[in-house]
Subunit: 224 residues, 2 copies
């Protein structure tokens, strides 16, 4: 050793302590859900609380933690405060931690298998093929999320049709073509519900468990 070992120890403690801040921020289920929601686009505290089924006070407390770890940013607009993810690296990390969890935790694999029959990730080649087919109009890529999220970011050649409008807008969908429905990602069940409904109507529909975060897309804010 060329340096006093206790000095080395002190430096290491500081470094790992900092990295652990990211771990702490992502150690709560609700905070992870908030991150996923923010991957779809910027949202107010109220919207985040509603969609994650918690009180606004609790949402505010969790968002405070995420902001302390610099994973999210805020901007005031009138009476509302809009939260958004700090950058695309945060979205990539959400996909990464989820992937590791699905790789390592049997319980998660089983829970996923129960809700969908297509849990497998698409390879880059599959994605290319899907985009090509969508461009040529061979398949309809349907985004069933709320319109604001579609506006913030969506898959190439996708068409917006929020799940709650789907039943009344069935006539807009062309017959005889395969419909690929997607939503916020594999843990969001909107696309699955949409596919169930479409199939019930005799349409050829399949569920794409990936969303904008999995495709490496980051939402744009209307202001920028």
């Amino acid at each position: 050793m060329t340096k006093p070992p206790f000095e080395t120890r002190r430096v290491k403690d500081i470094l790992y302590e900092q990295v652990a801040r990211i771990g702490k921020a992502t150690s709560s289920p609700k905070r992870l859900e908030l991150i996923e929601l923010l991957c779809q686009g910027e949202k107010t505290v109220e919207a985040l609380a509603r969609e994650s089924a918690i009180s606004m006070k609790l949402a505010s407390a969790h968002l405070r933690e995420l902001r302390a770890a610099h994973l999210v940013e805020t901007e005031r607009s009138g009476k509302n405060i809009y939260y958004r993810i700090a950058n695309r690296e945060v979205a990539e990390f959400w996909v990464a931690i989820r992937s590791l969890a699905e790789d390592r935790l049997v319980e998660l694999k089983m829970a996923l298998a129960r809700i969908t029959h297509a849990p497998k990730e698409l390879t880059p080649k599959d994605r290319d093929a899907l985009v090509k087919a969508a461009r040529k109009g061979e398949v309809i890529v349907l985004d069933v999320r709320p319109t604001e999220e579609f506006a913030a970011a969506h898959l190439p050649y996708a068409q917006s049709m929020p799940i709650d409008q789907l039943k009344s807008r069935l006539a807009e969908l062309p017959q005889g073509r395969t419909i690929v429905a997607y939503c916020r990602g594999p843990y969001c069940l909107m696309a699955k519900d949409a596919v169930d409904l479409l199939k019930q109507q005799g349409l050829d529909a399949i569920h794409l468990p990936e969303g904008v975060a999995e495709w490496g897309l980051t939402p744009v804010r209307p202001s920028a």
Copy 2:
């Protein structure tokens, strides 16, 4: 909604709860340090406790948590129990969470800047160039970690010379060639200390802050 909303909520809670297990496992500085150590190769509880400067009891408790999240595995060999990372995905996650921390946390960036003047990651092209130069013998790539870790995995064309033997083995190093020293990664200060020593001896040495985990290499166990 085609399904009762409370059912959807219950499923989501289960899914995020599972992912949060990975976050919880990586929310402690000591557990992160243990993961990094295990990225270098399998080790006994005693070795892990010694190298992370904690008691064996505490190390055992932390390793228990990591095993509960299925991030590490154990194997008994005589009186010792060897721990190892479950697979390469765990090592990749360690690099990923560290990258995000370095991207988002100013405090970490500052702490890193203070200990090294070359904190920048190598691009794949840089790595190729380094390997090529090492193969041709233009540079000496020096692995200053303990010999067991070198045996478990090391960078291509690297030569083993543990830091505590460095002073007495200086004669083995050829004059006039650049020496690139590396250790366990950017948070390990052995390579930095080695470079300081080599420079003091009038040798041309530079510090490579990356290690086997950053290069995507996974240790092999001697038994397999």
